[in-house]
């Protein structure tokens, strides 16, 4: 039986674009910057409504981050946008000094994160960005799971005062969260109730986690599925309550083990409630070219991989 159903599949980046279009009409303080990737970031709607509040920086991401920091000084809320590799790893020091350490209200919004970028290969498939951004003191890190949640997150971060990293992607994935949802930064979303194993997923892996829970149910295993859209600050109370009930946990993300969601969950549990744990993610390697589904299969980032890890971790209880 399907635990969740959906009518359409859409890309999360289009959810970002829809959120920006909403903000262009509802928040005159929001300004957008882009490093020569308007189409990829779905910014056409924002630019059409508010051309005076859009800044094309050309292929110059370091400058884009600095300009964003400067724009906050007039009370504006800059959304700096590009691909995740160029918006985090390439400009880590600019974000560190001009945004995070300077405490500037800049939103770094990046598409094409992770393996699902596909054919362009490892130069563009950053799998370290969550780690890079969450290590910065004061930085909020968000990785929503579908179109509706990405749109809601985009709108919500404009009302939050402080630096935010918002990560989303290119492939079309099922739209299964409510259209009118209220997005609360740092608040986990319980998707499936269960008592045998906790599956904590973020981003594109949330849908895979639901699929895994269905497959496990067919084997008589009741998995609890939690959507952690905010990796930092982490909703530790939701994690603790679930893990105390199930006694074991699997994390799932389109990111390296090192520095990712699993790493944050493990750190919390090691200190507060040591629990058998397994990770679904990329284990210390770069990606490569291929179709998104092929890559997710090869690197073990899909429902099948989550099912395997769930069975393995339950045996360790």
């Amino acid at each position: 039986m399907a635990l969740f159903t959906y009518e359409t599949k859409k890309d999360t980046r289009s959810g970002f674009g829809a959120g920006m279009e909403y903000l262009s009409q509802h928040n005159p303080k929001v300004v957008a910057l882009c490093a020569d990737l308007i189409g990829s970031l779905k910014l056409e709607g924002f630019i059409k409504n508010s051309p005076e509040r859009f800044f094309q920086t050309g292929i110059a991401e370091a400058n884009m981050i600095g300009i964003s920091a400067g724009l906050t000084l007039g009370g504006f809320i800059p959304f700096a946008t590009t691909f995740a590799n160029f918006g985090t790893g390439r400009v880590y020091d600019q974000i560190r000094q001009s945004v995070a350490y300077s405490g500037k209200n800049v939103k770094i919004c990046c598409s094409h994160a992770g393996l699902t970028l596909g054919e362009d290969g490892a130069t563009h498939q950053i799998l370290e960005d969550i780690g890079l951004m969450k290590m910065l003191p004061g930085m909020v890190v968000i990785n929503p799971c579908d179109y509706n949640q990405t749109k809601a997150a985009t709108i919500a971060i404009a009302d939050y005062e402080g630096p935010v990293y918002l990560r989303f992607g290119r492939p079309v994935v099922p739209v299964f969260t409510p259209e009118d949802q209220k997005f609360e930064i740092g608040k986990a979303v319980h998707l499936v109730e269960g008592s045998d194993v906790t599956i904590i997923a973020t981003g594109h892996l949330v849908w895979e986690a639901i699929q895994a829970a269905e497959a496990l149910l067919e084997k008589g295993i009741k998995a609890e599925v939690i959507n952690i859209h905010t990796i930092k600050p982490l909703d530790v109370q939701a994690i603790l309550a679930s893990v105390k009930k199930t006694g074991c946990v699997v994390t799932a993300e389109e990111h390296q083990y090192n520095g990712g969601l699993g790493d944050s969950v493990a750190q919390f549990l090691a200190l507060n409630n040591p629990t058998p744990m397994e990770f679904v993610g990329v284990n210390d390697s770069f990606g490569e070219s291929g179709k998104p589904a092929e890559l997710m299969e090869k690197y073990g980032l899909n429902a099948n991989a989550i099912v395997e890890k769930a069975i393995k971790v339950m045996a360790r209880k």
């Binding site: 005076e52 509040r53 050309g58 370091a62 009370g75 600019q94």
Partner: protein, 285 residues
Amino acid sequence: MQTQEIQKISSQVRRDILRMVHACQSGHPGGSLGCTDLLVDLFFSTMNLKTDAAGKVVFDMDGKNEDLFFLSNGHISPLIYSVLARRGYFATAELASFRKINTRLQGHPTPHEHLEGIRIASGSLGQGLSVSIGAAQAKKLNGDSSTVYCLMGDGEQNEGQVWEAAMYAPHHKVDNLIAFIDENGQQIDGPTEKVMSNRDLQAKYEAFGWNVMRMDGNDATDIQNTLIKAKAALGKGSPIMIIMKTEMGAGVDFMMYSHKWHGVAPNDQQLEDALAQLEETLGDY
């Protein structure tokens, strides 16, 4: 303000710099002394700063409807701290805490400790021009007709981000911005000509579309005249770059004509010798 008045303040600021760096035995006196005349002119004469009814400067982070200054070469922090304190942003007594534990006067400037007058962190080089451009564009969006100023080092021109910003500002007609390059010809590993030649900075910035001017950054009269000329050129479609020749260590004879004092503090005797060359005009902190 008369140039004699500015020179009197500059003498005191130079004393502050030397005493601060000496007290913690670390920091960058050379470039700080070299850029003293410019910063004193900007903060005491050229810039329009927000003040209360009594004429005392008031700091708020947004800085709307006042001129803003950004220090990109953050290592000359003793200079900006002294100028801000002497201008009234915070008590001069606080200068004694420079680079010491629990201070707001960190080795490199930051708003992280809520020091009045500092709006951005700098230290990792090459970022200040971008920030200044953003602040200038925010002023335009807000209908704020005041000016943004930015100081960079000449060694800092090695950084790629500077040239991203150099390309952006004329393209977007950021003509409410006056930037400076402190051309003292020195960087940590030696003369810029030897470490990484800037070749012809004027020709480079002109090719990028800037209105480029030159001045003697240690001549109060030339600074004043050039800034009058630069302000008259604002709002004409181009950002303005002033390449200013300075002498590292200016004001202290044995610290000039060498890069030795880029990041070295004077000992007790050297401090005494240096202070003997600089009149105490406003009272030491």
